[in-house]
């Protein structure tokens, strides 16, 4: 143990207090996840007994069937997956291309354009909701995938993140590619892109998670049960007069599971990528 830091008779005690407090905090962080999973395996009527159940029950299958019955879970989950995956692929592509253009190409008005795009980060997007809604209605795109996907494809944060990644790539390598006669696309795809894999991974994870959770825009765009995404469908369950809480917990658990798994698998890339945008670019 580091004797340099640990001095004074109170050190051991204060460390014990710190560890204790951290453990309490960890339990508070984790408990809602745990209870969500437990509640998903019980009947609604058993959730509010005294004491409430803290161990898994045997109702999981029944609850799954009930949830399928109530919100057409399979279809809704499919909508969520398609929208999140297509959005992630397209949005990451747009951000990566633009990030590279702003980092490594010179053209008239580059700084102005980049500044304008960055400025959109500071304007709350809610101010655009009314015209976007009108646009989508005029296009008769309500209840379509593209209505959810298209308007928020370009992400200032994503462009910024990728640009930061590309900036440190040496110009000489790009230049030598040009001298060798490679096309600009070939240089981008073959030479530069492999070097920014960490940023790209962070971007993909971040983009997927944010679209998977998106609520207000899908809520505005989707008003037919078979077009809902998971958050919108779960929200309709909340509004009912007779709430199926077990189904709600199961749905919430299933809606959280994919992002949880993605996060736990890639948490290192995700956190460092996120910080790329926050702490000192």
């Amino acid at each position: 143990m580091g004797s340099r830091v640990g001095r004074g008779p109170g050190t051991l005690l204060s460390r014990a207090i710190v560890v204790g407090a951290l453990l309490v905090g960890a339990v508070i962080s984790l408990f809602p996840f745990y209870w969500m999973a437990v509640a998903a395996t019980h009947r609604t009527s058993d959730l509010f007994t005294s004491p409430p159940p803290f161990l898994p029950g045997g109702q999981l299958l029944d609850n799954i069937l009930a949830l399928q019955d109530e919100i057409g879970f399979a279809r809704v989950a499919l909508n969520s997956v398609v929208i999140a995956v297509v959005y992630t692929v397209l949005s990451s592509l747009v951000s990566t291309l633009a990030g590279y253009g702003f980092a490594k190409h010179r053209f008239r008005g580059r700084n102005l354009l980049f500044g304008a795009i960055l400025a959109t980060m500071f304007i709350p997007y809610q101010v655009t909701l009314v015209p976007l809604f009108q646009l989508m209605s005029a296009l008769r795109w309500i209840n379509s995938y593209q209505a959810v996907i298209l308007p928020f494809l370009a992400s200032a944060f994503g462009i910024f993140l990728m640009r930061q990644g590309f900036l440190s790539f040496p110009d000489e390598i790009i230049e030598s590619g040009r001298i060798d006669g490679a096309s600009e696309l070939r240089i981008f795809y073959g030479l530069v892109l492999p070097a920014v894999r960490p940023q790209l991974a962070a971007l993909v994870i971040y983009t997927f998670m944010s679209q998977w959770s998106a609520f207000i825009w899908p809520l505005l765009m989707l008003n037919r049960e078979d077009a809902y995404t998971l958050p919108v469908a779960l929200n309709t369950l909340v509004g009912q007069s007779h709430v199926d809480y077990a189904g709600l917990m199961l749905g919430s658990f299933l809606a959280t599971l994919p992002v949880l798994v993605v996060f736990l698998l890639f948490q290192r890339q995700f956190i460092s990528g996120l910080l790329g945008g926050a702490v000192k670019g």
């Binding site: 209870w35 053209f107 959109t120």
Partner: protein, 303 residues
Amino acid sequence: MVTARVPGASAPPPGRRRSRVPQLAPAWFVGPATILFAVFFGWPLVSSLLQSFQVRQAGQMVWAGTQNYSRLLNDPLIFASLGNALFILVVQVPLMIGLALVLAVALNQAWLRMRSGFRVIYFLPAVTTLVAYAIVFRVLLRSDSGVVNQALGVVGIAPVDWLNDPLWARIALIASITWRWTGYNMVILLAGLQGIPRETFEAASIDGAGQRALFRWVTVPLLRPVILFCLVTSTIGTLQLFDENYVLTRGGPANATLTPVLYLYQVGFKGLDFGYASAIGWFIVAVIGILSLLQFRFLGRER
């Protein structure tokens, strides 16, 4: 470097091989993003600004001058929603950033085991689907026999009517938001802390600074820019609050958890009053702009 904008303007110096970038190459890279921003952000911005000066008359949007804005300045619900957001801002943001800072300092102690494990656990709430976590809190906080009230009963506290009492509903909202975002801010602060050389702390403690003095006179001043970042983003987030209060309480009871964005949603998409909703949107833009500016002004100095 050869620039694309002046192709052939000056001949390449003899004796040096220069490549040429196709003139349209940059357009292929930044074009898609630019078009998307122009269509789905730039144009809506202009459109909502124009609509904020219009009202609907006999099914037609007609020019109405500043009518929407004068209505806004006399609308008690706008001020109620702004008041709620400011209440949450004043109570929740300092609470959360303070908590995040303490946690970050604790997790930065070299003697602590499983630091990365703690970091992941504390960050976990931040990845939860917003609607899902709001639903879980709704169920946990149910007045009759919700888990939280039962736990309070064990220690002899009478059940609290979390979601149906104006004050408790706000507290429930604050607790939920704090649960979700503390770890997120902690991770950012922790990264900032790890950027401070360990010798700085050691030098200060050799000079006789205790843990508390270290925190007050070394940690906080050096972390100032990062703390500012967290404060500004949290302020913006609070003023844009929608998902949580919509799912938890639908803005109730008695509009105690109505926020500006939820009000915009009600006016625009339940009431279909697009002109007034646009004015509310620009009002939110102005409020966020002013608050961010104030924070930079008063906290951003002397870095």
